[in-house]
């Protein structure tokens, strides 16, 4: 085999660096960092915080009407909303810290956040 086609040390180094970068990117962007809290903002600029550690359903009054949310197995989703497009419902379950679920026409948004301490409490006072 021609020497020009042989894998050299530098090639291996480049390959290893690339592999490390891909791995680090995957860990940074796709690692499953489950959220502990849902920060819910209604159209009245009121912020509510609710833990994801208890399965529940809740109704949030927005500008158009009532949006329904479901929390199950530490995930959250819109189950009903008065908007026309229903994009919020179609976006499905959200569970990672940083995820945002929103119904823009109804002005209801939910941001999931990580807070290790939250799971230790039965209720959050604020």
């Amino acid at each position: 085999m021609d020497n020009a086609y042989r894998i050299k040390f530098a090639d291996k180094l480049v390959f290893m660096v690339c592999a490390c970068l891909v791995g680090a990117s995957y860990w940074h962007l796709w690692s499953d960092e489950p959220a502990q809290l849902a920060i819910i903002k209604g159209h009245q600029s009121q912020t509510q915080v609710i833990t994801l550690h208890q399965d529940t359903t809740l109704s949030v009054t927005g500008a158009l009407g009532t949006s329904s949310l479901e929390i199950k197995n530490r995930q959250l989703r819109f189950t009903d909303s008065p908007c026309n497009s229903k994009l919020c419902i179609q976006s499905g379950w959200h569970q990672r810290s940083g995820d945002i679920a929103a119904c823009l026409p109804n002005r209801v948004s939910v941001q999931l956040a990580r807070n290790d301490a939250a799971r230790d409490y039965d209720a959050i006072n604020f």
């Binding site: 209604g42 009245q44 509510q48 915080v49 359903t57 807070n115 959050i124 006072n125 604020f126």
Partner: protein, 352 residues
């Protein structure tokens, strides 16, 4: 069947029994948890150790309670309170409003004990600031200084309401009742009592972060996290067992921004402006209505005067975070509070 087969069956049966017992241990009590948006906030109801039939009936009953109180006491909708407010301004006598009279009498006592810092009669001032609407994004600027100054020249008090047998009347044209710093506590008290009528002994009603807890969670106290006023994290925690309420007033709850300045909804009746010496106040007390009113009053009182007002209102557990982030507490509160991260420097007061 060989001896080896019998031994295998015994081993399998033993492991199955162990699995069942372990699974049983992991779920020691039945838990009911529902959340509903009412009274302008999310109300979370948690009930432990009751049959589903009982919790379903109790939950339906307290939803009715919340709905009634929301419709009757809402500060800017057309309801019984709006009618009463319009009549109070006239100065003429009118027939008592039975759905609101208990709130007036109870809050008048607390207002006096707070030396007027908790003052539900200043709804007109709150309205001037624009907080009597659903959309705070629509508020762009504070009211004119002159308008506030004029209002303060004839500041209404709860004592301006006279109850005479079956009639009542107002003695101040600026009277406008707003039970925003009180109605949530009254509602939590009423619904906890309603749960007890169903025989429920272990429950939390958490109305937008302010709560009353009765009983315990299984074999341990209720564990309450207290939010950091400057982040979404938990700042401290406190254990509750028996029957106690935990209420916090903070400058982060309802506010608008104008020229890079934050204007929140807790208005100091002495100045006409949002109280600016405090980030948050947490009060622990037996009943939620008093805790609610006290949290508002102590927030306005600030780091210099909170101890005097708390003493006057009969409050035994207070934590106040001032505008610089210093933590003020009475010794009894300091013994109960657990900080989740590093322990801040605490400014201890005299005992309450």
């Amino acid at each position: 069947m060989t001896l080896l087969s019998i031994a295998r069956y015994c081993l399998f049966a033993g492991m199955f029994a162990l699995l069942v017992s372990v699974t049983g241990c992991s779920k020691p009590h039945r838990e009911f948890n529902e959340t509903v948006f009412t009274m302008g906030t999310l109300v979370e109801v948690t009930i432990i150790g009751e049959e589903e039939a009982v919790t379903d009936k109790a939950y339906a009953a307290i939803l009715d309670d919340f709905s009634y109180m929301h419709n009757t006491w809402h500060p800017w909708q057309r309801n019984a309170l709006a009618r009463l407010n319009s009549l109070l301004k006239t100065g003429a006598a009118f027939s008592l409003a039975p759905s609101i009279l208990p709130l007036i009498e109870h809050s008048a006592v607390l207002s006096e004990k707070s030396h007027g810092l908790f003052n539900p009669a200043i709804g007109g001032l709150v309205k001037l600031w624009g907080f009597h609407q659903d959309d705070y994004d629509a508020i762009f600027s504070p009211p004119d200084e002159d308008v506030i100054a004029e209002f303060l020249t004839d500041l209404p008090q709860m004592s301006d309401i006279e109850v005479d047998n079956l009639t009542m009347y107002g003695k101040n044209a600026n009277l406008h009742l707003d039970f925003g710093g009180f109605a949530k506590g009254v509602a939590v008290d009423a619904t906890i009592e309603h749960l007890r009528e169903f025989g429920i002994e272990n429950a939390i009603i958490n109305a937008g972060g302010d709560l009353r807890a009765i009983g315990k969670r299984g074999n341990r106290p209720w564990r309450i996290g207290i939010r950091d006023p400057r982040s979404d994290g938990v700042f401290a925690s406190i254990d509750i067992s028996g029957d106690e309420s935990v209420f916090t007033s903070g400058d982060y709850e309802r506010y608008f921004m104008s020229q890079n300045k934050r204007y929140h909804h807790i208005i100091d009746p002495r100045t006409g402006y949002p109280a600016d010496q405090t980030r948050s106040v947490t009060v622990v007390h037996s009943d939620a209505a008093t805790a609610d009113a006290a949290a508002t009053a102590l927030f306005i009182a600030g780091p210099e005067q909170w101890h005097r007002i708390a003493t006057s209102m009969g409050i035994k557990f207070v934590m106040l975070i001032d505008k610089a982030g210093n933590v003020h507490m009475n010794p009894a509160m300091a013994r109960r509070i657990n900080f989740t991260q590093s322990t801040p420097e605490i400014i201890l007061s005299k005992p309450l």
